[in-house]
């Protein structure tokens, strides 16, 4: 049976300000969706809200996986239901080794009812699996002993996100600008690796401005976010068009949303000026 991530009329506020204004989206296991939109349109907000970041408050609508509502669930419960977010800005955790971090993560996600303190995945099995995944991703196995994201370059951080995805094998993976900060060879490599990792058991929601990450992961659906609303949905051709020609066309086709975008930008500038 294939799982479904259902987003229904989702409204999300940050610090009391509405950012997403009624987003609806159905994603089935095995599908690839591209989510595009200009800076500030709310792409990361959607990603964080799906994962349950406390700053991103769902004020209306609902998110569910196979009928289980996520709205009130803690992020760890969502991860254990098969949701994954590759962060646009991965966080550094000093003193915590990549291998230790991942061993906890993998154990929890594979045993969703595990309580803290209960046994971790056996070290031997874990090491073997991690080594295999790192080799597939062309990562130096020394990374396993480094502290998570500490002193990592931009590209290394993004690869670490993909490694985590490879180990956790989620049903639904949201990739938030995983291609930014990578040179074109690296993007191509990540795109290829992703294609190998995914399959009928994994759905991807790829947030990007470009179409390079999509090269080996051709989306069946492309959605355009503008001022917190999905204003257009198409196929891979739409992603290509946006990559080649930018968002001017989208704005002219949706003048109301474009006006809201402008207003939000001005408000942002004001907030910034007051700080």
């Amino acid at each position: 049976m294939s799982s479904v991530l259902k987003i229904e009329n989702l409204w999300v506020s940050v610090e009391g300000r509405a950012i997403l204004k009624g987003v609806s989206l159905d994603v089935k296991q095995g599908e690839i969706h591209a989510l595009m939109g200009p800076n500030g349109s709310g792409k990361s907000t959607l990603a964080y809200a799906l994962m349950g970041h406390p700053k991103y408050e769902i004020t209306d609508g609902r998110v569910e996986i196979d009928g289980v509502e996520l709205n009130e669930l803690e992020p760890d419960a969502r991860a254990r239901l098969g949701l994954f977010l590759a962060f646009q800005y991965p966080v550094t955790i000093p003193g915590v080794k990549v291998a230790d971090f991942l061993r906890h993560a993998v154990t929890n996600v594979r045993n969703p009812n595990r309580k803290e303190g209960e046994d971790l995945m056996p070290m031997r099995d874990f090491r073997k699996e991690l080594k295999g995944r790192m080799e597939e991703l062309d990562m130096d196995t020394d990374f396993a002993r480094r502290y998570l994201n500490e002193g990592f370059s931009g590209g290394e951080k993004k690869r670490m996100e993909i490694l985590q995805l490879a180990m956790l094998r989620p049903k639904f993976a949201v990739l938030d600008e995983t291609d930014s900060g990578l040179d074109s060879d690296a993007v191509r490599f990540v795109s290829q690796s992703l294609a190998r990792l995914t399959g009928p058991d994994m759905a991807l929601i790829i947030i990007t401005h470009h179409d390079r990450l999509l090269e080996f992961n051709k989306p069946q659906h492309t959605h355009v976010l503008l001022a917190g609303r999905i204003v257009e949905t198409g196929d891979a051709a739409l992603a290509r068009e946006l990559h080649d020609h930018g968002y001017a066309g989208v704005r002219s086709r949706h003048p109301d949303a474009a006006a809201e975008e402008k207003e939000a930008l001005e408000q942002n500038a004001l907030v910034g000026a007051n700080k």
């Binding site: 803690e74 760890d76 977010l85 000093p94 803290e116």
Partner: protein, 445 residues
């Protein structure tokens, strides 16, 4: 034991006389107490050194509510809420000997027979002063912690109740660690433990000491002292894990003195107490002496943990390396005031001190005040202090990978302590500290 002595609270002249009457100790020991009591009474008229105490709030402390222990106890060591030793009354695998004190009274003491045969002494201070006073007298409160330093040292020197002694003769190497427990069980009791460790030239030993309470609710007081005397080429690892309940006041003078080419590795764990103030000194007395201090503290609720540390270099080519790592939560407060002193003679000194704090809540507070006083001209001394907060994004990141909030917090705290765990060579201590962190975080309860 006399009833009148048992009912005299406080630490005035009457209480002192009553206490002295119960002691069965050599005359020179009682003389030392009397002299110290005089110093104590004098010191009451003077303020405590403001540089050391001004950040420590003692307003709620009332000494007269407590009475000195060291007379009797009915509580076995197994009743203590210990972290390190599961059954400190038995010489379980891994320990070469164990001594336990409750309410200032020794309740258990033993040492592996082959070590006794080699001349090692390990046991209660009271008893060993009677049987081996000649060995201990030159060291007791004469070299590392002298009675006259301040009110706390004089108070302790007059009213000390007992404590663990470890004496290791020349070139004797003890591989397995020794265990010492200091417990409090009777409410309103003052423990006056005096830990005395003497390593002769070329000797080696590891002593793990823990303080613990029988209940979480009874008020207690510790006015203690630790003296670590490390001879030439000797090597001592000493750990004290302060794990009193949160109703206990802890005041201590603790000092280590290292002779030529000797080495002291000293680990301090600060977990318990309502308020703790430790005056900790390391004296690098002989050429090439080395002292390493590791502090791991985790303060929660309304606890105050205060450390006043001094690294004193008195000879050339000496090294000191101090690292305190503090985690705070709730409304807890940690104060660290450190000083590296280098005498004129101590050329080629290498001194280091550092204090890092991790703040888990908005209302906790950490104060770090490093300092240097250098009279030699060819030295390398550095210090540093950092304070950071766990931010919501780190927690969120861990949780997004399937970890519970506690597990995320645990991971981040363990990561913070990681650098210091790497320095602590004794696996049992690392595990114990790690377990203490779990208890503090409320995991596994």
């Amino acid at each position: 034991m006399t009833t009148s002595a048992a009912t005299t609270t406080g630490f005035g002249a009457e209480a002192f006389q009553a206490f002295l009457a119960t002691r069965n100790e050599p005359g020179w020991v009682s003389d030392l107490r009397r002299a110290s009591f005089g110093l104590y009474q004098e010191s009451l008229g003077r303020p405590l050194n403001p540089e050391e105490w001004k950040r420590v709030d003692l307003r709620a402390f009332q000494a007269n509510r407590f009475s000195v222990g060291g007379r009797a106890t009915t509580t076995p060591a197994t009743r203590m809420g210990t972290l390190l030793g599961n059954h400190p009354t038995t010489c379980e695998a891994g320990f070469a000997g164990a001594v336990a004190h409750v309410d200032g009274v020794v309740v258990d003491s033993h040492l592996a027979a082959e070590l006794t045969a080699k001349g090692v002494l390990f046991g209660d201070l009271n008893e060993l002063l009677r049987t081996h006073g000649d060995i201990l007298k030159p060291h007791l409160m004469t070299r590392a912690v002298k009675p006259g330093v301040d009110r706390m040292s004089a108070w302790h020197a007059a009213f000390w109740t007992g404590g663990t002694v470890l004496y290791v003769p020349r070139n004797v190497v003890i591989d397995q660690p020794l265990y010492s427990l200091i417990g409090l069980a009777t409410p309103q009791t003052m423990d006056g433990s005096h830990t005395l460790v003497i390593l002769e030239e070329g000797a080696q030993a590891t002593l793990l000491e823990e303080t613990a309470s029988a209940t979480t609710t009874d008020a207690g007081l510790h006015v203690g002292s630790v003296e670590l005397l490390v001879g030439k080429r000797a090597n001592l690892r000493y750990v004290q894990l302060q794990n009193w309940n949160q109703q206990t006041w802890h005041f201590a003078h603790q000092a280590g003195l290292v002779e030529q080419d000797g080495s002291l590795q000293w680990t301090v764990g600060g977990i318990g107490s309502r308020l703790a103030h430790i005056h900790q000194e390391v004296f690098l007395d002989g050429k090439g002496a080395r002292g390493e201090v590791n502090g791991v503290t985790f303060a929660t609720d309304r606890q105050t943990l205060s450390y006043y540390t001094q690294q004193t270099h008195r000879s050339p080519n000496t090294t000191s390396d101090l690292l305190y790592k503090d985690v705070l939560r709730d409304e807890a407060r940690v104060i660290w005031r450190g000083m590296i002193r280098v005498d004129q003679a101590a050329q080629k000194t290498d001194g280091y001190q550092r204090n890092d704090s991790l703040l888990l809540s908005p209302d906790c507070r950490a104060d770090s005040i490093p300092g240097l006083e250098i009279e030699a001209d060819d030295v390398r001394c550095t210090h540093g202090a950092t304070a950071g907060r766990v931010d919501a994004d780190q927690i969120f990141y861990c949780m997004a990978r399937g970890m519970s909030r506690y597990e995320a917090m645990h991971m981040i705290v363990e990561g913070f302590f990681h650098g210091i765990y790497d320095r602590i060579a004794v696996e049992a201590v690392r595990q114990t500290l790690s377990r203490a962190v779990e208890v503090k975080l409320g995991i596994g309860q």
